[in-house]
């Protein structure tokens, strides 16, 4: 078990493509860190540099207190689970799991003990003598994890391990991975493009975009206090609404002027923060769950507005209303009992305590 530090890590592929542009990251012992971001943002590249499968163009990687830049993968004491499992097709499940230990000349009894222990944790005891082609996708995924667990490495690396599974199995395996981590407590770096996976699994989430880290933090912090518009829009589903707005002074306070003319009062404890933007255009960000129907809204700092939904989507436990505004698509979450119909004006309540303002010039949340 070990901590991992990335210091100014750069990856430049032949042809001058900078896939990773100097990232810094400290990962503590036992921590579960998830790298998340859109396709092509450099997550896999970062992970593969940690694994030693990709040369590092610049910076330093430190695993357990030693710089490993020039250490080959086999000597880094890491284990990796691949998206397509990468099981050895000619070996049984048992041999697949034992392979790494055999190459490291572990005694037979110790190999057996570890394989059986991993099989118990993952509940694949009955599959031990099968070949990978006789396993389902979820079972192969478990074997791939078993192969990592038996090695008892310093660090687990996962590259989108669940994206080949169907939706239901993905949720199940997600829980499984979390359980395994709670059992073995190995430092884990997990790559995914699925923000739900990131939120549910991570101690800390690292949001990447275009080869840089946008923000690092615990899931709740990223959710409630995104630092940039990118993070605000990436984390959360359905995504945060972004509405062009203008900040205007009204007496001692401030209001947000929306495109169709509605004014929303800014809570007084935020006035000082937003004062410098008075008279300027900004982007108003609000999550769908903070833009609701008008029942049960006797909280402070609620602003009311009426919008006309275009599409109503009943989800069962809630109903989503999609509204088209000038320059923005807005989504509101309604109680399923509220009567809403497309084209019929709908009174809505915006919880202004959970509002965000984004500086359009910098993309930063104010």
């Amino acid at each position: 078990m070990a901590q991992v530090s990335l210091r100014k890590i750069v990856k430049e592929y032949e042809g001058g493509v900078q896939a990773v542009k100097g990232i810094d990251l400290e990962i503590a012992d036992h921590e579960f860190v998830v790298l998340v971001g859109p396709s092509g943002c450099g997550k896999s590249t970062t992970l593969r540099m940690i694994a030693g499968l990709e040369e590092i163009s610049g910076g330093e990687i430190d695993i357990g207190g030693a710089v490993v830049n020039d250490v080959p993968p086999r000597d880094r004491d890491i284990a990796m689970v691949f998206q397509n499992y990468a099981l050895y097709p000619h070996m049984s499940v048992r041999e697949n799991m034992a392979f790494g230990l055999m190459l490291r000349k572990f005694p037979k009894a110790e190999i057996d003990r570890r394989v059986n222990e991993a099989a118990r944790i993952l509940d694949i005891g009955v599959l031990l003598d099968r070949k990978p082609k006789a396993l389902s996708g979820g079972q192969r995924q478990r074997v791939a994890m078993g192969r990592a667990i038996v090695r008892d490495p310093k660090v687990f690396l996962f590259d989108e391990p669940l994206s080949n599974l169907d939706a239901k199995l993905r949720v199940q395996m997600r829980t499984e991975i979390k359980k395994v981590h709670q059992t073995v407590r190995t430092t884990t770096i997990y790559v995914t493009h699925d923000q739900v996976e990131a939120m549910t699994l991570a101690d800390r989430v690292v949001v990447m975009n275009h080869g840089v880290i946008e923000q690092v933090g615990p899931p709740q912090e990223l959710y409630h206090h995104p630092r940039t518009r990118f993070v605000a829009g990436f984390i959360g589903s359905p995504a945060m609404n972004f509405i062009p707005a203008k900040v205007e002074a009204r007496g001692a306070g401030l209001v947000l002027l929306l495109p169709q003319g509605t004014e929303l009062a800014v809570p007084e404890h935020r006035v000082a923060r937003y004062q410098p933007y008075a008279g300027k255009s900004v982007t108003f960000g609000i999550r769908p769950e903070h833009l609701t129907d008008t029942q049960n809204v006797n909280k402070p700092h609620v602003a009311f507005l009426t919008l006309t939904p275009e599409v109503i989507e009943p989800m069962g436990m809630e109903t989503l209303a999609h509204i088209k505004l000038e320059g923005a698509e807005v989504c509101a979450r309604l109680d399923p009992l509220v009567e809403a119909a497309p084209g019929v004006p709908l009174p809505l309540a915006a919880d202004m305590n959970n509002m965000h303002l984004i500086d359009d010039a910098t993309g930063l949340v104010i």
């Binding site: 694994a51 993968p73 499992y85 392979f99 006789a134």
Partner: protein, 299 residues
């Protein structure tokens, strides 16, 4: 466009379509069987004729009357003569030594070369891979003259060891090319998993690549075996001493004296010579067909 289903029209239409599918399939089967039967007749007629000739007496072979496809007095005398002939046993032995050596040398070189060319990206590896294949396109009838010089210079004319040296020039390029294809189809993650598991290049080759690419290795082995067992041009050119001859030229050169053809023995010898390839094919085909790569990754 409307996709409204009108049952009254759909059902008969559907029935017709199923019927036409069935008759189409029947047609396909018929055509397949007819072409296969024609092919089988064309392919099997010569060996059958050899077999028939080999169990005839010389007198019966020489008799030009009657149907040559009928055997009136079957006899084993040709086989007995061939097997009892120590010279023929020598040819057989030479062929076996030669072929085993060539297959081993070929497979060692081409597996190692293909692994390097398919997986270790080094300067010029692409050009080299193409080059290997291009050398295969040069016909051996063109190569044997310069090779005669080389083998002669080495003092290996009239020795099967000269052939052991020369045959790999025919087999290695093609076998390497086959193996590059098989190795390239092994997912990259498999090597990476092995690297992380602690394998070095040699272990990756022996413990992952060779077992996973076994069908390819068997295909290449069959090829090398066939080329080496059946080669005719090189031994004809390089070997004149009977005790160093392999089967292919031994049978021909010893059983044809001037214009006297010992047809019965020739055919018996040729059939015995054809036996090892048949046995090898029969044994290896099962492995060859069993797809071993299934289940490496999803899909």
């Amino acid at each position: 466009m409307s996709a409204t289903a009108r049952p009254s029209e759909m059902v008969p239409g559907l029935g017709r379509r199923v019927g036409s599918l069935r008759s189409e399939r029947r047609w396909a089967l018929w055509t397949a069987y007819i072409s296969l039967i024609i092919a089988a007749i064309v392919m099997l007629a010569p060996p059958l004729y050899m077999l028939l000739t080999s169990i005839k007496t010389s007198a019966e072979i020489a008799n030009l009357e009657g149907n040559p496809w009928l055997v009136l007095a079957p006899t084993w005398e040709n086989y007995a003569a061939i097997i009892g002939n120590p010279m023929f046993r020598g040819f057989f032995y030479n062929s076996i030594i030669l072929t085993v050596c060539v297959v081993v040398i070929t497979m060692v070189i081409s597996v190692l070369a293909a692994f390097a060319l398919a997986r270790m990206k080094f300067f010029g590896s692409q050009v080299l891979a193409t080059g290997v294949f291009l050398t295969y396109l040069v016909p051996d009838t063109l190569l044997f003259i310069p090779l005669y010089q080389i083998v002669g210079g080495l003092g290996l004319l009239n020795s099967i060891w000269g052939l052991v040296l020369v045959y790999p020039t025919l087999t290695v390029p093609f076998c390497t090319w086959i193996m590059i294809g098989y190795f390239a189809s092994i997912p990259k993650e498999l090597d990476e998993a092995a690297l992380i598991d602690g394998a070095n290049w040699m272990q990756m080759l022996t413990k992952i690549f060779i077992p996973v690419a076994l069908p390819g290795i068997i295909a290449a082995t069959i090829f090398a075996f066939t080329v080496s067992w059946a080669a005719f041009v090189y031994p004809t050119a390089f070997i004149t001493r009977p005790d160093e001859m392999p089967l292919t030229i031994g049978v021909v050169s010893q059983l044809i004296r001037g214009d006297t053809f010992a047809w019965g023995q020739l055919m018996a010898g040729a059939l015995i010579a054809a036996l090892p390839p048949v046995v090898v094919y029969a044994f290896l085909m099962d492995y060859y067909i069993a797809g071993l790569t299934a289940g490496a990754t999803k899909g």
